[in-house]
Every structure is written in C-alpha cells, then in structure tokens.
Assembly symmetry: C2
Homo-oligomer: 251 residues x 2
C-alpha cells in the first residue's frame, strides 16, 4: 500500500482527495478532541470551516441536542458552548449530542477531505485503531496533516510517522515519498518522548502559554481512546457494524 | 539568530519575505547549477518565473552574450541553450555570459524572494560559504526550500538542516520552530550519506530515470563550489567587495 503524506492541507486540492482513503491528523487538538467527544458518547461531529457556517447550521437544529464547539487561536469562540480542549468533552456534557465543530486548522483539513471515499480522524490517542482500519482496507491512503496556519507542525508529522511505522511493523509493505520518509524519521527521533515533543512544539508552547498545558498530556497518551471517527455523509461518527443485508438468492 | 524554515515556497507570501535575509534552496538542481555557472565565470543569472518571460527578456538582450537556461519537468526547454544540469554549465560555455534562467521549482522560489533584503542561493556545494555569510550578518534569516511542485522535498530540507547545524557548531545561538527542528533531525539522520539520500529521494529517482543520474553525485559534493550567489537588483551574481566610498568628512 502507498502512503501519501501532506504536511499541510493547503498543498492539496479537495478534488485530489476525492474517492481516496484520507486520514486527517490534528494532534493539537481537533483529532484528539473529536476522539474524546465520540468516546464519551457524542452522537456526531459536524465539521464546518467558518464560524458563520457553524452559527447558521446550529440555528436550523434543535438547541437542546446540539452544541457548538471549536476555537480560533486556541480560544473558545464567543457564543459557543465548548472550546477545543479534549478535557471539556466529558460524558455528562456530550452524550447524545451533535456537535457543530469549527477550528483553525483541523476542521479546515476535514472540510478539504469531504469528497474522500473514507475519512478518519487520527491522533496519538487512537493510532492503533486507525492502523487497524487501514490494515483492513489494505488500500493506498493519504495522510493529511492539519499543520498550523498553513505551516508544518511537528506533532502531526510525528503522528503520521507513527501510523506508518505501525503498518510496517504489522508486515505491510508500505511505500512512500519524501514526506512519508521524513515523517518516519521524525517519529523515530521523537516517538519515545511524545510529551516532551509536544511541549517543545510551536503549537504546544502556545497552548501552554494560554493555559492549556494539561491538554498536552492528554494528547500524548497513545491509544487511550480506541475509537474510529469516520466521515459518514457530512458528519463524523463512530464506525458502526453494517446492518445485515438480506442474503442474495443463488440460482 | 532565528532561522525560519519553509518547506515549500507556496507557504509564504512574497511580501512576507520583504527586507529579510532569505536563503533559497533547490539542491536538485537550480541552486547547484547556479553555483556551478557563477563558479565557472558566468556574469549573472537572471531568474524568471515563466518561459514566456525568459523569451521576452532574451529578445531584448544581445544574443551573443546571453544564454537561455532552465527546464520544465527536468528537461531542456525548446529553444533554450542550456538545461538545468550543473554539468552543462562549464567554463567554455558560460564565462562572461548572462543566463536567463527558468526552472520548475527553483526560479519560482527565487522570484518569490525578490523583495528580500538579501537573497543567497544555497545547496550542498556551497553550504559553508553561505554559512559564513549568515554568520557575518548575524541576523535572523529565512530558509526557503524550493520543494517539488509545491510539495516537501527531502534534499532541500536536509540541506536546510545542514546549514543550521553548521551555524550551531560555530557557536551561534540559533532558535527555530517546528520546521527548523524537523530539518535538523532530517540532516542528522541523512547527513552522512547525502548521495544515498539523493538517490532515494523522489526528485533524485526521477532525474536518474530521465538520464541525469550523474547530476546527483555532483549535487551531493559538499563545499565543492565555494561561491556566494547573491541577488543584486534583479540578477544573481557573486558577491563583490564593495568599492571604497570616499571617507566622510568629520567636522
């Protein structure tokens, strides 16, 4: 299987991602937060690119089952119910709720992947689950790192490398180009000290500065939230077993 | 000094680079080829973004002192005198000539840096010379990797890391963000086998396929062409000592 890695969503056109298997990584914090929300029983995440879209969509939905979540510059948006800290998305807050979700980087990448055949959200907290999913499909895939404001981010690249290394360790023959090669090298160099890497990353330092230092520890916990957030239609939800189709009649 | 690293020119706006010290890296092959041309006595390189601009400019210049050089998809452009292989830019071909130069990635990055305060071309063949230049200015700088068709390229990133490591080894306190950190890691991982890295890179494999395998060896030779190609006005030429200004009159 071929792994194509993009370090920023700006590098790739949404039509290029059409009908592909796409893994969107935004370790700090959208991918982690979505995993936390769905793990804690949220019904679905509705990714939108702009605050205006979020407000418009939520206006059309029943208020008591829908929440607005997300951030701009790491901070909660005025009028929203939740920010983008995974620690906020606790069961008593999110169970059964639909969450309209807009963040600076992560939801931009998700929106870019909206024509994908399959799109899963990947971060350290669910890396083995996502590796299992890719392993099952056994097909080529694209890793789309959300990056930060259009630029390379270390944490997303290291996570891409971790996913690739897991597949290689499972015996898959994974091919890749320069970006995939770099992701593997960066994972090998940083994989044993993820929290340290997050703390020294540009985004991690910024989050610590604005009071979200605890989020880094949560985001560094490998396989703590073994869920598979998948894009289904226009929403992200947990993969459900398909209902049994009637057996086809053999003539 | 702060080193800001961009893995592709598309990530950065030309006005962002205004009045900054910018190092443009296109190891395969524009940076290397320009170093070879100037080392071998070319008068100047005139970087242009499009083939049309190249044709227009050369039409206005005297034919016997001006050459058209460059490539699209690695191959010589119809009507041009030279391709983009550094091996073509030998002394008997280029001495005293002005070369209008247009390549797929490198000259795009150069054109993007045209409002820089200072812009130097960097590759493995002149890394110590460029490090000396940065060391003298002792100022913040931007490393602009040409990348490949808007995407990350390993060889440019490794070269960025090598330049940074040289400055660190010289005792400079170099600060950097995620991309700079990644470049350093990639250099540490690949620096001892540059030719192997070039041969396994996406661009290196492509060049070998289309018959330019020998270029890789030339491009991997560290400090073989100790020149400093600098943007002066609209052209790239070797740094000359400034003429002595008349002593100012002290009252």
């Amino acid at each position: 299987m071929h792994a194509e890695v993009f370090f920023t969503p700006h590098q790739v056109d949404e039509m290029y991602l059409r009908d592909k298997t796409v893994l969107v990584i935004d370790v700090l914090r959208a991918s982690t937060t979505i995993a936390a929300a769905l793990y804690n029983g949220a019904r679905e995440i509705i990714p939108v690119a702009t605050v205006e879209s979020a407000m418009k969509i939520v206006g059309n939905l029943a208020g008591d089952v829908t929440l607005l979540g997300g951030e701009r510059n790491g901070k909660m948006i005025e009028g929203f119910h939740l920010g983008n800290s995974p620690l906020e998305y606790k069961e008593d807050r999110v169970r059964g709720r639909s969450i309209v979700f807009s963040t600076t980087n992560g939801s931009q990448a998700m929106v870019k992947a909206r024509f994908a055949r399959e799109m899963a959200m990947l971060s350290f907290v669910n890396v083995s689950t996502v590796a299992g999913f890719v392993s099952e499909t056994d097909a080529d895939f694209v890793i789309l790192c959300a990056g930060r404001n259009g630029h390379f981010s270390m944490e997303d690249s290291v996570c891409a490398g971790m996913l690739m290394q897991k597949l290689i360790d499972q015996g898959h023959r994974v091919t890749y180009g320069d970006a995939g090669s770099a992701a593997l090298t960066l994972y090998k160099s940083n994989g044993r000290s993820l929290l340290k890497m997050l703390k020294s990353s540009e985004h991690g330092r910024y989050l610590a500065e604005i009071g979200f230092g605890d989020d880094l520890k949560f985001c560094a916990e490998v396989d703590s939230l073994p869920v598979l957030p998948l894009l289904v239609g226009n929403v992200v939800k947990l993969k459900k077993e398909p209902e049994l189709a009637p057996a086809s009649i053999q003539s």
